[in-house]
């Protein structure tokens, strides 16, 4: 028996082969040119950040994970499977075709025997998978028409791919019918096609094969050449984005400038102002967008019918900037409107579901920064910022009132002020809500009691504490944030080596993830992690409290604790130890947690657009049948209380901080 192989370029003359390769190079040139053009657009952005070799291994692993396995897409919907089919189908076929080039152009010779048979079978199978994927995609996009897929023109690439697969099999079938090799079973799909051509005469087969081969080739060349010119460019840019993207935690916003540089005259303006102030990576990420709309679906502002769709924001920016006539000097204000920018709660659900790693929140916050500098702060926003600026806290209370919560603590609970000279293990950063808000104070007291009971030597900073600046930064008032940050860092540096405990996820996030940019490097821990640790170590004597029996508790993941900082388990551990109730998760929990609506500065101003996000989340809690909503964030707590004050369900549904629940369970 002959060794299994097939003639490459079967039925194609020498002249035709030359034409083929010429077209191939032409197609690749257009492809490359298209990509270079995109890179030219990205280069219009600011030149930071510089690329380094740091964390190369990490980035590579991350990229391989997201590009080849696409877990986010799989998690999001059944669409994940069809995309994987198309992706792997095309990838294997493409690689297969390139293998032929190696066989032809190099002295290597391997395209025979077992290799060939395996090759043949693999490419056939993946070809079929590709075809199935394309059919599923067409069905989903044009028959089912889910809302989030509205928009992009994938019609051309899908058509081309479909035809590519079909013509590929037909060409193969015709060849098999013509040459009738013994190993045809190793190309099952082709063989199937071949059986349909039994009645056709050999010369006709050859002719059809020849013509269809060229059709297939041309479709392939067109397909490849047009990749950079449509949304399919994500196939190239998405892996690039995964590899090069900013790997800052999602809770840390960008630092557009340093206030000292503005004061000293080293920089001339408080960027961002224009589109060109976006970094080149931000512009590149716009091209990675596939317009899948998963961000939109996950966005709480969109669900609450606010005028914000993260997808629309990104696509709009891309359409305006990454084009020949895109002008980097366009004021950012014209690209992202106020209503759009202020609707965001910075919950980063969009960023956590995005399959290509776009950082939507960064664009929206940059837009806010511009709007603030252009005096577009709304009255409630202006009043919140002014209060924060004058008083150092958003409540407008005097700094000396920061210790008011320590009055009338139960015996055995003592709160020291740092700088008393005594040795401490822990600094408790109370935060503004803990100090001034009635509910926040209850949480602070519970934490003080717990810490005292566990024998932890801790102290608070008292009147020296100032707002971490989180509300200012989220609202886009970067200058005020930096002012507050630098004051706090000067203070905290006196206790540089002491661990800092916070009871507010926003304080936690800012101190841990954002202060390092300004020279503040501290070990920061949130009260849930710390208390869970105490429980696990046995330093607290916990006896589950609560009604027990049929009572249900549900835990609301604060965006700033959960999604931004990956703390999901600690609060749940505390609940299971401290409460004799069933823990029932809401329909969107953990990484998919639905925002309470207070983020992005919304706790401090009124947007007055769309429905209430906190009401939507409250309904989700009610659905679980719980009698307690447990939270670990004072803002989430206030949001739920606000909804509850207008609802009958509130009589049966309490909102409690995890610390309060634990405290009750440890009272002897």
């Amino acid at each position: 028996m002959d060794e299994a192989t097939r003639e490459i370029f079967f039925g194609i003359s020498g002249f035709e082969r030359t034409a083929f390769f010429t077209l191939a190079y032409a197609s690749l040139s257009i492809f490359a040119g298209g990509l270079l053009l995109r890179m030219f657009y990205w280069a219009r952005g600011a030149s930071y950040p510089k690329l380094t070799f740091r964390s190369l291994g990490n980035r590579t692993a991350h990229t391989l994970w997201h590009v080849f396995l696409q877990p986010r897409l799989l998690k999001a919907s059944s669409a994940g499977w069809l995309h994987l089919l198309i992706f792997w189908g095309f990838l294997i076929l493409f690689v297969g075709t390139e293998i032929l080039t190696v066989e032809i152009d190099t002295p290597l010779s391997f395209f025979s025997g077992t290799f060939y048979l395996v090759f043949s079978l693999t490419t056939d199978v993946f070809g079929v998978l590709l075809l199935i994927g394309v059919c599923m995609a067409v069905h989903r996009r044009y028959v089912i028409r889910p809302a989030r897929l509205k928009g992009p023109a994938y019609g051309l690439p899908l058509t081309l791919l479909g035809f590519l697969a079909v013509t590929g099999f037909v060409v193969e079938g015709l060849r098999l019918a013509h040459s009738d090799p013994a190993w045809y079973a190793w190309s099952p799909a082709g063989a199937l096609v071949a059986t349909m051509t039994e009645s056709i005469e050999t010369p006709t087969l050859a002719a059809w094969h020849h013509d269809l081969w060229w059709v297939h080739a041309v479709i392939a060349f067109v397909f490849i050449a047009t990749i950079p010119f449509g949304p399919l460019r994500h196939a190239v840019v998405a892996p690039l984005n995964w590899f090069l993207r900013d790997r800052r935690p999602s809770g840390a916003l960008t630092t557009p400038y340093h206030l000292e540089d503005l004061k000293s005259g080293a920089i001339d303006r408080a960027a961002p102002e224009i589109a060109g102030d976006f970094s080149w990576i931000q512009l590149m990420a716009l091209d990675a967008c596939t317009e899948c709309g998963l961000c939109e679906e996950a966005c709480p502002a969109w669900v609450a019918k606010r005028p914000l769709s993260p997808k629309k924001t990104v696509v709009n920016l891309r359409n305006n900037l990454n084009r020949w006539s895109g002008d980097p000097s366009i004021p950012l204000r014209q690209l992202v409107g106020e209503a759009e920018a202020w609707s965001c709660t910075t919950c980063s659900a969009c960023m956590s579901v995005c399959p290509v790693g776009v950082r939507h929140v960064d664009y929206l916050v940059d837009a806010r920064r511009v709007h603030i500098m252009a005096n577009q702060a709304s009255p409630t926003m202006a009043s919140a910022l002014e209060t924060l600026r004058v008083h150092g806290n958003p409540f407008g209370m005097g700094a000396e009132q920061r210790l008011a919560w320590t009055a009338n603590l139960p015996a055995g609970t003592k709160v020291d002020i740092a700088d008393n000279g005594s040795e401490i293990d822990l600094i408790y950063w109370v935060g503004c809500s803990g100090a001034f808000d009635e509910q926040g104070q209850k949480t602070a007291r519970a934490i003080a009691e717990l810490l005292s009971r566990a024998g932890i030597r801790f102290a608070v900073l008292g009147p020296k504490e100032r707002c971490t600046g989180d509300p200012a930064r989220r609202l886009g008032e970067e200058g005020l944030f930096q002012q507050l940050a630098s004051a706090n860092i000067t203070n905290l540096d006196k206790h540089k080596d002491t661990k800092i405990l916070t009871s507010c996820p926003h304080c936690f996030n800012t101190l841990k993830n954002e202060y390092p940019d300004f020279g503040g490097h501290y070990e920061v821990v949130h009260h849930t992690s710390y208390l869970a640790g105490l429980v696990a170590e046995g330093r607290l004597d916990v006896r589950p409290s609560g009604a027990g029996g049929n009572s249900v508790v549900t835990y609301h993941d604060s965006c700033y604790l959960g999604r931004h900082n990956d703390i999901f388990d600690a609060p749940r551990e505390i609940l299971s130890a401290a409460l004799s109730a069933n823990l029932k998760e809401m329909k969107s929990s953990r990484t998919d947690g639905f925002c309470c609506g207070a983020g992005g500065g919304h706790a401090w101003f009124d947007l007055d657009k769309g429905e209430k996000i906190n009401a939507i989340r409250y309904d989700q809690a009610v659905e679980t049948g719980a009698d307690t909503i447990a939270t670990a964030c004072p803002n989430c707590h206030i949001m739920f209380d606000e909804v509850g004050s207008g609802r009958e369900e509130a009589e049966r549904l309490q909102v409690r901080d995890v610390a309060e629940i634990l405290n009750e369970a440890t009272r002897s």
Partner: protein, 334 residues
Amino acid sequence: MSTDLKNIWVFVDHMESRVRPVSLELLGEARRIANETRGQVDAVVFGKCSEQNLGQIASYGADRIRVVETRDSDSYEPDIYTSSLGTLCQSHKPDLVLFPATTTGADLSARIATAHLWPIFPRAISIRLREGVWEVTRALAAGKVHARLIPLIDGPCFVTFAPDVIGISDEDPTREAKVTQDACATPSKTLIEMKDFIRATPDTIDLAEAEIVVSAGRGLCRPENIGLVEDLAAALGGSVGGTRVVVDLGWLPKERQVGQTGKTVRPRLYIACGLSGATQHIMGMKQSETIVAINTDPGAPIFKIADLAATVDAIQILPILAEKCARKVEEDKA
């Protein structure tokens, strides 16, 4: 200022045919000084003044009341008032003229003093004789520092006082004053034209300026019960306010929201009906002079700042209150 303040005048501001209490405070102060210097107190009133009001002005310390006739309107017309009072001061040369720092008094005093280049001390807190010199004290730096001032040029010395700085003195109903009429002097040049006067009603007044506010909270249970709050407000001549919850539920429009993200109000009377007093709401109304709170929950935070607390059901008591208030007002009128 002459060492002897013998001739002291007081500009009496009245609104809606009642003498404003601040004017009575000034009369008391003028009387005190006049008693010290054995001087005389003249009150100046523009427009129509009832017998009862004249009597009240006399009993608070005036020796003589100069009534200046104005045309028809009772409202302040700057050019006419300026030229009239200015002419009077020029001819009668009072040593000291006291004005209340109301919108009228502050404006008028400044106009006359500026026109005639006479010394003026706006928003003073006291006038005292020290070391043989009459000093006027003003509060600066939000009241942390007092500045003792003296006039440097000749002429009637104008001093204005804000309400509740001097405090009201005792009334002497037996006291009588001589009432004289003066014609108003037409100004040579009218710079300002009075175009219109828009009277505010409790419905139209901006909540931030209302004197009486009756506020509704979630404790009223149903939107129909807002009517009970409206009835009480009407009976008292006050305006309706509400908490954020009530506005979010659509029971009241946004303009009626009192609180951190609504309006900040400082009425003389704030009646809180069925509202618990969340921090954000209290921030918007805690500067009210008198707070009455009605709530079934004795632990409601609003009670911490209330002058009068009633732990009864607002829905039950409001109609009764409204009716009794209306009846009382009727009785008082009669």
